[in-house]
Symmetry: C3
Subunit: 202 residues, 3 copies
């Protein structure tokens, strides 16, 4: 129940982030809605396509409604939302943690090998943002800034480890979502960054 609320909050916030990116590109309302929709639900779509299973939002008017509401709230409250950076960051980070672990669980459910499960988790959590940036004609943000997916990798590896040594699913999930959130928050506080591939002197 609580899980479902946080999942919808995550989708809602991802949709708003898509809308705000679109608005910086001077897109129109329709373009903004489309990009918000795919930012929110694109990661899960790619995961389900790879798993060769039914795409989750296609069967759920609630998920579609949540994503479109996020887009609508983004359109109406654009100016105010920009000031709420911290609230945003908070739910975006919960979304990252939650979608990573949910994606891994779906992989396990479909009997994928562990490394594929980890990739499916990362794809669930981050590919919405990748699609958003590709549609907005930018190099995806997660490829060049901050610790983001890396937090998901660490938390995801912990989750796979906990499950292998026989931990209970719910316990592993809660702990690992917190690990991801913690790494992400610490990385922003202390300015941790992935090293850049090309240095000036190359």
């Amino acid at each position: 129940m609580l899980l479902s609320i946080f999942e919808h909050l995550g989708i809602f916030v991802f949709a708003i982030s898509g809308l705000l990116t679109a608005s910086e590109k001077r897109l129109d309302y329709f373009g903004g809605m489309v990009i918000a929709f795919f930012t929110a639900l694109g990661g899960g779509t790619v995961r389900d396509l790879l798993l060769n299973t039914e795409v989750r939002w296609m069967e759920s008017s609630v998920l579609i409604f949540t994503a479109l509401s996020g887009a609508l709230v983004g359109i109406i409250f654009k100016q105010y939302l920009i000031k709420l950076r911290r609230t945003f960051f908070f739910f975006d980070t919960i979304g990252l943690g939650l979608f990573t672990i949910l994606g891994i669980q779906k992989g396990i459910q479909f009997e994928q090998i562990p490394v594929t499960c980890l990739f499916l988790g990362l794809i669930s959590a981050t590919f919405g943002g990748v699609i958003r940036d590709v549609l907005c004609n930018e190099i995806p943000l997660i490829f060049r800034k901050e610790i983001y997916a890396t937090a998901g990798i660490v938390g995801g590896l912990c989750y796979l480890g906990f499950r292998m040594i026989g931990w209970h699913n719910s316990a592993s999930m809660i702990v690992c979502v917190f690990i991801i959130i913690l790494i992400r928050i610490l990385s922003v506080i202390y300015g941790w960054k992935m090293p850049i591939l090309k240095k000036e002197d190359n």
Copy 2:
């Protein structure tokens, strides 16, 4: 029968539009052919992938032939085609109307919920152009200019409504394709546009 002719004309014209966009980017003949192909058949491809069913052009040498002919005609008659803007616009608009409704019908046939059917219709009609613009390194045109997908949304909603109140399929289809074409033509004549998300004063 008439339906099939118009469908192939739509694909043919979409392929030409892909070729002309590619030629503005100074791509080579091969790049032009690929982009023309995906502009013409990419929307249906994404629709079929989402429906987890066989991709339609893969089983139909006629569809492939139509798309490649459009590309070839585009290569040969580039200079003359640019003068035929009105003829183009006419068939592109028929394509928009037809593919939207055909996509919705395919969604209904696969027992999807109504909002998903509408999205499948829009994806069929517009994602070829989205893929074209992404491959040409542009922000998709339909996200930032004119009433295009919006005409499809209105017509698609009408179609879903007509079917719900029990109208016959063919009648609903013809009326709704005309609604889409009409909105699109009126929007061009009167210069209707979707509002832009970001205004100067923001």
Copy 3:
């Protein structure tokens, strides 16, 4: 056996090429790994999605390991690899030839029509590079430079022809991979290029 070694070498080299492109864009280590991964395995992924079958790398930790090793080698030996252009070109060309024919074979195995088999071969061999360039915000290289996919088209058509007139699979395969490699090498030596769509005087 030899086939499998060359296939992994091809994937390895494709991963390195993805990493080097990413490093020119000043991405971070994570971005470089992701782009290397999709350069190496993205073509096969699109092929398998279109065939509505299980995505090959998802079931094979060896393929994933090969792609990630290529990325890692790329990160560590970046400076030295740039000097090995010829070795690279050699394995990239083997990859092109091999993946084209392997993709066609997979299409035949799934009972696709010949033209679709050819397209699946080309997609296997070239779409990794297309995804790499889209993620790096460039117009795909194969749409605008040199004879690359064209070599695959010629070799692929020969393969389909040889199979139709009853040649043995292995013989056809070896001959056609060599045809592709030969055309590619000759095109680089003699500077063959596809004509550009738009000329200055248009």
